[in-house]
């Protein structure tokens, strides 16, 4: 499947792109992260500490165990700091 992946804040800076289209067979968010980390050191570094990474699937906050069934947009970002 083709996923649109978005990166925000320091994840965007570490990876160097705000978004990209990815062709993947990953079934969960964790699988997708593992795939991305194998690409190169930028991704490996960005995802090195998952305790400070959050994920949203189709604009809804989710978790790393979540399935990518029905996902079209996956966003990675640090914990939010609104207000």
């Amino acid at each position: 499947m083709t996923l649109k992946i978005l990166y925000f804040a320091w994840l965007r800076e570490r990876i160097g792109e705000p978004s990209e289209q990815v062709e993947t067979n990953a079934s969960t968010v964790s699988d997708l992260i593992a795939e991305l980390r194998l690409r190169d050191e930028r991704y490996d570094f960005a995802f090195s500490d998952l305790s400070s990474v959050r994920v949203a699937i189709n604009q809804t906050l989710s978790d790393f165990d979540a399935t990518l069934d029905g996902a079209s947009e996956v966003a990675f970002f640090p914990p939010m700091t609104g207000g």
Partner: protein, 145 residues
């Protein structure tokens, strides 16, 4: 009910005029404004957000509060972009039948807005630029609701 996400500044008085409740349905109106705090070493505060998700997340928070406390109206304005020291970042106004529900709803909305609204802040300083890290206490604050 309204959720507005914009780059430009807002005027609290003008926003309050658009809030329902002044025709007799509300007994209390509370407003909150968040400001850019710091000292002269802060050149700017940059707010990044996730446009496709921001309005949806804020509307969810607003709807939860409205149902939980039977609010008359809620108005949320949140800015993004590059802000200067002392500038207004965001505002929330709630109108409710009674004072206590208005205060509690405001507290709830702000707690969720801190940790569930997809905004990220970067402080641009004289010597360095730092992403503001989320406060653990802010995440824990959600458990009291």
């Amino acid at each position: 009910m309204a959720v507005i996400v914009q780059e430009k500044d807002f005027d609290l008085a003008a926003e309050l005029k658009k809030l329902a409740g002044f025709e007799g349905t509300a007994g209390a109106v509370i407003s909150f404004i968040g400001l850019v705090r710091g000292d002269a070493s802060l050149l700017a505060l940059e707010l990044e957000h996730y446009p496709a998700m921001t309005t949806k997340a804020l509307e969810e928070i607003e709807q939860m509060a409205r149902t939980k406390w039977g609010l008359v109206d809620v108005r949320i304005v949140h800015r993004f972009g590059r802000l200067q020291l002392g500038e207004q970042i965001m505002m929330v106004a709630v109108s409710a039948p009674h004072r206590r529900s208005a205060f509690e709803a405001m507290d709830y909305i702000m707690d969720f807005l801190k940790s569930r609204a997809p905004f990220w802040k970067k402080e641009h300083g004289i010597n360095n630029n730092i992403w503001v890290t989320a406060n653990l206490d802010d995440e824990e604050a959600l458990t009291r609701w």
